[in-house]
């Protein structure tokens, strides 16, 4: 695959496809100030450039998971500079976070609302910083990127009975071709792969990894059983899906046919190319509620694993994007596409009408990936979608059998 484009060179050697300023609230109490700081640039629908984005952590209790997630996101290759917005009395360790961002070679500033003199003064100071730093990083060094530099994640949301027939297998075709070209691809979510564990284990590069993969799905099944609710929304049933195992079969098609080379947890960055499964279900006893309260929690975790962009397959018609990385929307259902074409990058529903086959749509997805990597806006970016959510979770580190030897 002979493709190359200009990316953004980061001091740690990673390469980005966007050059964003992240304005980060460290507790819900600082969120309004962070959003107000970003507002003049944030929303393309209101004339903004879209390259200054707000994200953060809402809780006031410490969280090793929350800290690791933000550290990974703020040192993500798509991020060029960071403004941390602190209320002043929250539990988040802002100094350690600022240190990690600084250590990655990125400009970072901490704005504390209680020291700045309140809301108005903090918003003003924040905007002055963003204005200056945005211009500064715009001249940042560029570097050639090829498919082997890419990490791409995939998720399905608002699934229906078409997702597993058109959009998901087409995304799987695109994954197979990206992996052949050296890219790392990440699929999830273990709670929506219930029933597929033995087949997945057989695709693992080693028997030890196969056992880890199977164990991760069993953990998910136990977790959801305790909660008494599968990863299954009422809208899934409206769209013709009846059971979690049926939804799983459709979701599994996103993974394509490549060998599974590793198992990641949120924030683990793939050390090589190849296909990885992301285990998103917390370890230990059930704490803090549902593993991912909505699709955006999973998207943030894929991005924290270094995904430059995320393929999002939807049947019912999700509209979301994400802070930090572009989301490419693949619509599986032709009737949904007809209603919501403005939100969709790819019309995989044509497969149901006999107007295209899986390979053709897989090829269109690849083209969209490279266009996005080269700087073209996805539909959700153009429409200003930068959803972000981060909640409490707890994880043990991955085991030694989970990653390929380098």
């Amino acid at each position: 695959m002979n493709r190359a484009w200009q990316g953004w060179a980061r001091q740690d050697g990673r390469k980005g496809v966007r050059n964003l300023v992240a304005v980060v609230y460290l507790v819900e109490c600082a969120r309004h100030v962070a959003e107000a700081v970003a507002a003049p640039w944030r929303d393309p629908l209101s004339g903004g450039t879209g390259d200054v984005q707000a994200m953060g952590f809402p809780g006031c209790y410490p969280s090793a998971y929350g800290h690791r997630m933000l550290e990974r996101l703020l040192t993500h290759p798509n991020v060029g500079a960071v403004l941390l917005v602190s209320l002043g009395c929250e539990g988040f360790d802002k100094r350690r976070l600022a240190g990690a961002v600084e250590g990655s070679g990125r400009p970072v500033e901490v704005l504390t609302i209680q020291d700045a003199g309140g809301t108005r003064a903090a918003v003003e100071a924040g905007r002055v910083y963003v204005e200056r730093i945005r211009t500064e990083i715009a001249e940042g060094p560029r570097v050639e990127m090829t498919p082997a530099d890419l990490i791409v994640g995939t998720i399905c949301g608002g699934s229906d009975g078409t997702s597993g027939i058109t959009g998901n297998p087409a995304a799987g075709r695109a994954f197979d071709r990206l992996i052949e070209a050296g890219a790392a691809c990440i699929f999830e979510e273990t709670g929506e792969l219930i029933g597929c564990e033995r087949h997945m284990a057989a695709r693992a590069a080693t028997p030890e990894l196969g056992r880890e993969v199977e164990g991760a799905v069993h953990k998910a099944a136990r977790y959801y059983e305790t909660l008494g609710h599968a990863s299954f929304a009422a809208g899934n049933a409206d769209g013709g899906l009846t059971t979690i195992e049926e939804k799983s079969m459709g979701a599994y098609a996103k993974s394509g046919r490549s060998e599974i080379v590793g198992l990641l947890k949120p924030g683990d960055i793939p050390p090589t190319g190849g296909l990885y499964l992301l285990d998103v279900v917390p370890d230990g006893e059930v704490r803090f509620g549902f593993p991912n309260i909505n699709d955006n929690a999973e998207i943030a975790e894929l991005i924290a694993c270094g995904a430059h962009m995320v393929l999002f397959v939807t049947g019912r018609g999700s509209v979301v994007g994400s802070a930090c990385a572009p989301v490419i929307k693949i619509c599986a259902n032709p009737e949904t596409y007809a209603r919501m074409a403005d939100d969709m990058d790819i019309n995989a529903g044509r497969i149901l009408k006999g107007e295209a086959d899986l390979d053709e749509v897989g090829g269109e997805i690849l083209d969209a990936i490279f266009a996005t990597a080269g700087g073209a806006s996805t539909r959700s970016e153009a429409l200003g979608h930068q959803e972000f959510i981060l909640t409490y979770k707890s994880f043990e580190p991955i085991g030694p059998a989970c990653l390929p030897r380098q």
């Binding site: 009975g161 297998p169 299954f232 899906l241 049926e246």
Partner: protein
Amino acid sequence: MCDQNASMKDQGNGKSAMSVNTDKRLILLDETDNVLVVAATLRADEVVNIEGQPITLHRRIGVGHKLARRAIAVGETVLKYGAPIGSMTEAVTAGGHVHVHNMKSDYIPTYTHDNQAAFTGASS
């Protein structure tokens, strides 16, 4: 459910199994399946052919929903993609709508809004 590796290998390869004399809007994903997937919304009172047998639909069926390819008994496993996706809680005749009203998960129960839309795809 994925221990049926032979049929799983064919999942998503773009070649659907042939279902002779069946309405083009009904997709058979695997030869062993006992359900067909609806590829375009079907109207109530419409007559569709399922393997040579004309069946009159009693309600509107939305895209992505499933119809029985043949009669399926209570307790019988429902097969789609050549893999088990749950079991019947009520018997269904050929052409009948197979969904949350007559089948269940063999893993974790399904939650739906308590309204007709969930059963007919009427909102889709």
